[in-house]
Symmetry: C2
Subunit: 107 residues, 2 copies
DNA sequence: CCGTATCCCCTAGGATACTG
DNA sequence: CAGTATCCTAGGGGATACGG
């Protein structure tokens, strides 16, 4: 349920989770938690991602209300992607998953 | 990175997340948060899952330290799957994702 | 700089059948 | 009841090429 907007991946029990489980999603959110970025800035930071994938993922995350896209009227036209408030809450939750100790050795 | 234990899906930046993003994982964890279950109990509750998939997922979650498998020495041999402490912590974190308001209408 | 349109490949998911 | 072994297929991921 990660590609092709015409499919109803949003219908899956919880739309948000569908996008979360897609590749790159976590990384994008993590990057935007640090600061807002332009399209190619993200692309450069996320080593290996293609423009196609990034574009798709950004659209989905936008439609889920996780991030916002703002087009700036500058001479070289630029776009800024930033987390919404919901997006920041989500990012914080995801950080908790990372903090989980994988296995309990002592206790 | 969800199937075939011989692949190094565990190497992906954070093994836990790899399993999390797989199908059924979330449902399994949620079910075990309620109570421990036997194999076929889980299978019955999770409508649509096949024994093959369930088996694979359970193994992975066990190897990630999310759940524990206990074989009981009963007449019809039975197995119990239950969340580890880490697993319960994880389940609580995941509940937060569900609680996230999808979009802010008012504010 | 900021994307989209196509096309292709690989693998996660599932169906089926079978074992302890 | 509690699984494993095979095989198939749909679709997510990526490469490439092109457009605003």
């Amino acid at each position: 349920m990660c590609e092709y907007e015409d499919l109803d991946w949003k219908r899956e029990w919880h739309g948000l989770w569908s996008v979360l489980s897609c590749k790159w999603t976590f990384h994008v959110i993590r990057l935007l938690l640090i600061d807002d970025h332009g399209f190619n800035e993200i692309k450069r930071e996320l080593d290996g991602i293609t423009a196609t994938m990034l574009s798709r993922r950004l659209k989905q995350l936008e439609s889920e209300g996780i991030l916002e896209r703002e087009v700036l009227d500058t001479s070289p036209p630029s776009t800024r992607y930033s987390l919404t408030e919901t997006g920041e809450e989500l990012a914080e939750i995801l950080r908790q998953v990372e903090q989980l100790r994988p296995l309990s050795d002592d206790e």
